[in-house]
Subunit: 247 residues, 2 copies
């Protein structure tokens, strides 16, 4: 019977902390557990803070800031973190980010803003969340001797549907997609178009416990879940534009 | 600690069976449980079978069948179940269905095809899945005396990302969206754009146990999950076209 278990004993994460070691010590991990980690603490451990005062907006950022009614320094950071701007309207800036994610503000959320003595700073996504997941997995496995899998998740808006949902932006030790084409269903009919966004479903499940607000559950253990064979990466979940029939 | 529990003692569902009573008797329900039910068995209980031999394709269906390389009778059913065709290419027919869902083949999946003595039949989505969820909830509550919530889920493809994920197409007794705007995050910063597709995250979590193939888990109990206040419907999750910034 699969369970979702909040990992809530972590300290506030600062740059340079070893997140894998902290996670290893925060829970009695068992073989087969999946560790789902909120992007925010991965970014913090990796020191992905940027001071807005240090950002010099380009003319294009200034123009997009006018259109979107956003801070030009924030827009400049979004542009640096993006391959392409998909939508710019008042209050809205949706991009394809450098990692290939379609998301608002290249994942730089205003809720990540923090004040300190030296002015406002914001938090970028991990540079390579699949690599982050690999590193954290290795750290947990080295310290505990248990075989675990790791998902880094974030909340993304969606086409067609209201509300954000948790998605996998980093994956290590489990498949991102479960390709069931060729298997038979209960009626003996071959499933011919069934590829499941499995890591995204796990990410969404964990997201139910995390919440974006003051509860502060930055990691969730998923225990007892039957797992598809193979291993993949979160980038497997990115649909190439030429194959994106919904775009 | 939230748990996901497979409800696997149901008989094969035939038209006219009382799904609520069957679910009520299949598990020891407790107050606060969420019952997630696969669309397929809801459709079966509601007798949403159509014999392909009884379907007379219109000229438009015949034309779209040529373009998509699909059975003209299937395409005719898709058109009857749709408001608008969004994409028609070889092997692909994506529509906005009469309920407002953006999905392939109006939810009429080829894996729903069954053979019987009288020829092939396919299974349409429930006419009104929110209403189906309400009815099943009332039946379970009447028979068990427990307060439960119900989600009818289905697997949908997505823009931008590979793989299908479970989504809520019917909701009763819980909110579909969790509007957290105005709450404070850990840093005291007001969350200003956070509306969570909560019922979709629950639907995705349950989908991890269901699988589309031979395992045949048609319903899942979600127990112990802290629930947002209020009640909503799956139609709350449909983003009006004029507000759909990703479309």
């Amino acid at each position: 019977m699969p369970s979702l278990i909040a990992i809530d004993g972590l300290p506030l994460i600062e740059p340079g902390m070893c997140l894998g070691d902290l996670l290893a010590d925060a829970f009695d991990w068992q073989d087969g557990d999946i560790v789902v980690i909120a992007q925010k603490i991965v970014s913090k451990a990796e020191g992905r803070w940027v001071r807005l005062d240090d950002v010099d907006p380009s003319p294009r950022a200034a123009e997009l800031a006018r259109i979107t009614d956003k801070d030009p320094r924030m827009v400049e950071l979004v542009l640096r973190e993006s391959r392409e701007v998909l939508r710019a309207r008042p209050g809205v800036l949706i991009v394809e980010d450098v990692r290939g994610f379609i998301c608002a503000n290249a994942g730089i959320d205003r809720s990540n803003v923090q004040q300190d003595g030296a002015g406002e700073r914001v938090l970028l996504l991990p540079e390579n969340p699949d690599r982050s997941a690999d590193e954290i997995r290795r750290q947990i496995e080295a310290r505990t001797g248990r075989h675990v899998a790791v998902i880094v998740n974030d909340s993304h808006g969606r086409a067609f549907r209201e509300g954000t949902v948790g998605v996998a932006i980093g994956v290590s030790g489990l498949p991102a997609l479960w390709d069931r084409r060729g298997e038979l269903d209960l009626t003996g009919y071959t499933l011919h178009a069934t590829v499941i966004g499995w890591a995204d479903e796990v990410a969404a499940a964990a997201s139910l416990l995390m919440g974006p607000a003051a509860e502060g559950v930055p990691a969730v253990a998923v225990r007892g879940l039957a797992r598809p064979p193979g291993e993949g990466k979160a980038r497997d979940l990115l649909r190439p534009r030429e194959r994106d029939l919904f775009r």
